[in-house]
Every structure is written in structure tokens, then in C-alpha cells.
């Protein structure tokens, strides 16, 4: 078929369309370190959707920051500070309008300013301890999802089933319908998702079976394009799974010593993360930031200190950056919305009362409604929930 337009005209139109598209990933020959006030992060792909929501605003604040992020795998977020590996190749950054673009690191490489992991760095191979001079800060909570394609009929899975599937391999494990090796999707041992799930099911990360697809986003593609969706199984961060509910579903997960399998949310279709927050959904971790610190334990680089400080509350938030809302809207959970905690990765849970709870606001924002009483001040709150926080009566 002959096009009514000459090829050069079509190419020009396509270039304009791509340039105007706010969601397009622009491939530009831009050197990362030449961007204004660059802040280079490296780590897992699970956190990339969250960073993508924050980065555009960082370009517009009083002292702008260009957030640059490379996601080769969570453990690279600490190994760069262990063995001095520099960032090379390309990375993502975001324009103020939300456009994701690509920049290139210098040929000799660039030292990342911070690492961002979904698990404790010491769970990464070769990292026995956090190196001297590197500080750690906790970020918001992410949960991990076992996922199937929407065409699958499966709705739940257990730690014991996963032990056989990922520990023996799909065919050898004999857990129907997940018995096809070619449909078992996995990651490598640098993945936070793999490490977290490995801890929960008792399979050493290096013994995980399945095809390494390389990233959270690639996991979605692999599942959604499966030729045998009933047999296909994979895992990713719940944020990424939630962003792709049109093609994949999170399975309810039943931990060891648990008598029923729960979704991260109160139902399979909700967005309230209630089961993560109250301890019914076992697969969750806090994001962790790593960066060089001075003798006083403060981050050395001022932009790193500012950026991570926004998450920890150590730095005042710019008025343009509604970080709590961004975190909630991303499907990530602020620590103030949790009522359980744990001292070790995927370790035992205990009840937790945050100093300044925000569970009511979280529910209202994430789920669109809450049973908590709305308020404008403490005086409007009942005795059992006497403090008005973010417009709702909380218990403290």
C-alpha cells in the first residue's frame, strides 16, 4: 500500500508527535553529569515509578534538582559503595512536565550519589556489612506481589507452594498449574523482590529457578504476553503490579504459619493496602537509601541530604512537593500508616503504634473513603481517637 504522504513527511510528523507526548521516553544525546544540579541514584526498578512521580517536581522547587536514576538491580545500590563500581551507560531523568528522558554517563563512569534498595543491603551477595562512611535511612514501605496474567484463573498461593515452584523448578515442583518451566519468570539475586520472596519461602536467592527477566517492568511484559497464562507465574513490587492491573493480577499470599491467603489490599480489587498495614500480608519491606555520610552521620552531598531528608522528615518539604500524597498515590505506604513493624527483613511482625499515625488519611487518599471521623481540630475528636491529624481523628 502506498502512503499518501512522502516518507520524509511521515518521519517529521512522527518526530513531532513523539516530542509532544508527555509520556514518551526521549532518547537524547545528553550527558547525565551536564544536567543542572544532577543527583544520581542507582538501585532497583521497583522504586522507579515512585521516583518518576517525584522527579518532575524536583525540577521546579526553589533549588532545583535533576534526579537521574539507573535501575540495574537493587543490590547495585549498595555495591557501588562497596567496590567503587561507577555508573556507566544510560540512565533516566525527568523533565518538569513529567517527560522521561535518557542521558548518558561519561565513558569513564560517574559515582552515584545514593543507592535505593527495597531490602536491607546486607542481604545482597558480597555485602557483609554497610561500608564505613555509608549511611542508611528508611523510606516508605513497598510490598511484593506474586503475579499472574489476568487470563489465569488462579487467585492464591502459599509459601509452601512457592518453595516447590521456585526451589525445585516448575516441572519438578509439581504444583499445578505452575508446572511449565518456560512460564516461570524470575529475577536474579540482585533483585530486592527476589531476595524478599526468597526469605519468605525459604529458598536461598542463588537457588531460585525460573527465567531472569531483568526488571519489574519486564516481568509485567513477560506475564502479559505469556502464551500459556494459566501456567505463568512471576513477581514484582506491588506498586508495579497495581500500575498494570489491566494485564496482571496479584495473588493472595499465605505465609508460613498462616491459615488463609490475603491480598495486599482488603480485597483483590481495592487499593487500601490494609493487609500490609495490619500484618495480614507478609511480603513487605521498607525502601532504604544509602549514601556517603560525614563523621556526624549526616549525608555529605547537600542534594542527597535534601532529597533523602524529604522522605525521612529531616528536611522541610518544598510547598510544591506533596510527598505524602505522591507516596500514597504510587501505592507505596508511608511508615505512619503502618500498624505493624519488623526488625529484620521479612522477619516476625509485631504491633506498632506510629508516633504520628496517618492511617486514616492514607485510607481516605488511597481508597477514596475511610471510616475515621473527619475533623478540623482535636476538639472534634472522640476520646478513643483524640488527635486530629491531616483532617481525621487518630488514636494519638
Amino acid at each position: 500500500m502506498t502512503s499518501p504522504l512522502p516518507r520524509w513527511a511521515l518521519a517529521g510528523i512522527c518526530a513531532i508527535v513523539v516530542a509532544l507526548s508527555p509520556t514518551a521516553v526521549l532518547a537524547a544525546d545528553v550527558e547525565c553529569t551536564s544536567l543542572p544540579n544532577p543527583l544520581i541514584g542507582v538501585g532497583g526498578s521497583a522504586s522507579k515509578p515512585l521516583l518518576a512521580k517525584i522527579a518532575p517536581t524536583l525540577r521546579t522547587i526553589a533549588e532545583p534538582i535533576t534526579l537521574i536514576y539507573q535501575a540495574p538491580g537493587a543490590c547495585f545500590g549498595i555495591t557501588t559503595f562497596v567496590d567503587g563500581t561507577l555508573a556507566t551507560g544510560t540512565a533516566s531523568y525527568w523533565e518538569a512536565d513529567g517527560t522521561e528522558a535518557t542521558c548518558t554517563f561519561p565513558v569513564i563512569g560517574a559515582q552515584p550519589d545514593f543507592g535505593m534498595l527495597g531490602v536491607q543491603a546486607t542481604l545482597c551477595a558480597g555485602v557483609d556489612a554497610i561500608p564505613p562512611g555509608i549511611g542508611e535511612r528508611l523510606g516508605p514501605i513497598t510490598s511484593w506481589s506474586l503475579i499472574v496474567a489476568n487470563a489465569s484463573s488462579q487467585t492464591s498461593i502459599s509459601a509452601e507452594a512457592l518453595y516447590f515452584i521456585y526451589g525445585f523448578g516448575a516441572a519438578l515442583g509439581q504444583v499445578s498449574p505452575w508446572i511449565v518451566d518456560a512460564e516461570l519468570y524470575s529475577r536474579n539475586a540482585t533483585s530486592a523482590a527476589l531476595i524478599a520472596i526468597a526469605l519468605a519461602i525459604g529458598v536461598p536467592p542463588t537457588k531460585f529457578k525460573g527465567t531472569d527477566v531483568g526488571s519489574n517492568q519486564a516481568m509485567i511484559s513477560s506475564l502479559s504476553m505469556s502464551v500459556n497464562p494459566e501456567a505463568a507465574l512471576g513477581f514484582t513490587s506491588t506498586e508495579v503490579a497495581d500500575l498494570n492491573r489491566g494485564s496482571v493480577r496479584t495473588l493472595a499470599f499465605q505465609a508460613q504459619d498462616q491459615s488463609c491467603a490475603y491480598w495486599p489490599d482488603s480485597t483483590s480489587t481495592a487499593f487500601d493496602k490494609r493487609n500490609v498495614r495490619d500484618g495480614h500480608y507478609f511480603l513487605w519491606s521498607a525502601y532504604r537509601f544509602y549514601a556517603p555520610v560525614d563523621e556526624g552521620g549526616e549525608f555529605v552531598d547537600p542534594e542527597t541530604r535534601r532529597f533523602i531528608g524529604y522522605f525521612t522528615g529531616d528536611e522541610p518539604l518544598p510547598p510544591e512537593l506533596p510527598l505524602l500524597d505522591i507516596v500514597i498515590d504510587n501505592g507505596t505506604i508511608p511508615a505512619c500508616a503502618m500498624t505493624v513493624g519488623r526488625d529484620e527483613e521479612i522477619g516476625p511482625l509485631y504491633s506498632l503504634q506510629p508516633e504520628e499515625p496517618c492511617g486514616c488519611y492514607y485510607e481516605a487518599r488511597a481508597a477514596g473513603s475511610t471510616t475515621c471521623q473527619a475533623c478540623a481540630g482535636d476538639g472534634e475528636c472522640p476520646a478513643e481517637a483524640s488527635t486530629c491529624r491531616l483532617g481525621y481523628c487518630e488514636s494519638t
Partner: protein, 108 residues
């Protein structure tokens, strides 16, 4: 590695199995709309226990959930809730490689 060792504490496994069986028999609660269940894992339910009890064993609600204020990790995982859940039955029908006593064999 510590977690791997913990996971093989198989003494608790029959108890979890019993709880799962109890939940499988549960007929009450909200039914979560799900895809057709070809694997026989049962439809979603809730564990919104209404048992008022004081002793540890007496805290087991008819649905199989823990109906008292949860204190231990296991109680938190199994606390009664009006959230939907779906028991995954860890038996040899579903997991053929389980040992006869319900414990897990070592990895190959």
C-alpha cells in the same frame, strides 16, 4: 540463611494445616468476586471472628482466625479481619512433593 532454617521448623506446619482445613470448611463471610477456581482452592471469604474469649486456645474463632487482640507474629498473621482471604490448602493433592507428615523435603 536464618530464615531458611526457620522455615523448616516443621513442628508448626500441621497446626497451620489444621487452621487451613478449618478455614476451608468456613462457609460464612463475604465472598470476593474472583476468576473461576479451577484449582479447588475455595472461594474468598473473610475471617471476621466474633468469638469473645480469654484463653489462647479459646481465641480461635469458628472461622479459624485469632479472635483476641493479636500479640505474637502468628496471631497477627491470623487475626480475624473483615478483609477477604482465600485459604490455599497445603496438602499432598496440591503439593505432591510434601513429605507424608506434611513437612517440606530439602531442596534438590
Amino acid at each position: 540463611m536464618m530464615h531458611y532454617t526457620l522455615f523448616l521448623r516443621i513442628g508448626r506446619f500441621p497446626r497451620a494445616l489444621a487452621l487451613t482445613a478449618a478455614l476451608s470448611a468456613c462457609s460464612g463471610g463475604q465472598v470476593e468476586p474472583t476468576a473461576s477456581d479451577t484449582a479447588g482452592s475455595g472461594s474468598a471469604t473473610t475471617t471476621d471472628g466474633d468469638t469473645e474469649t480469654t484463653g489462647d486456645d479459646a481465641c480461635l474463632a469458628p472461622e479459624g482466625c485469632f479472635a483476641c487482640p493479636p500479640e505474637t507474629p502468628e496471631q497477627l498473621l491470623n487475626a480475624c479481619s473483615d478483609a477477604s482471604c482465600e485459604p490455599f490448602v497445603n496438602d499432598r493433592t496440591r503439593l505432591p512433593l510434601l513429605n507424608e507428615d506434611g513437612s517440606l523435603p530439602p531442596l534438590p
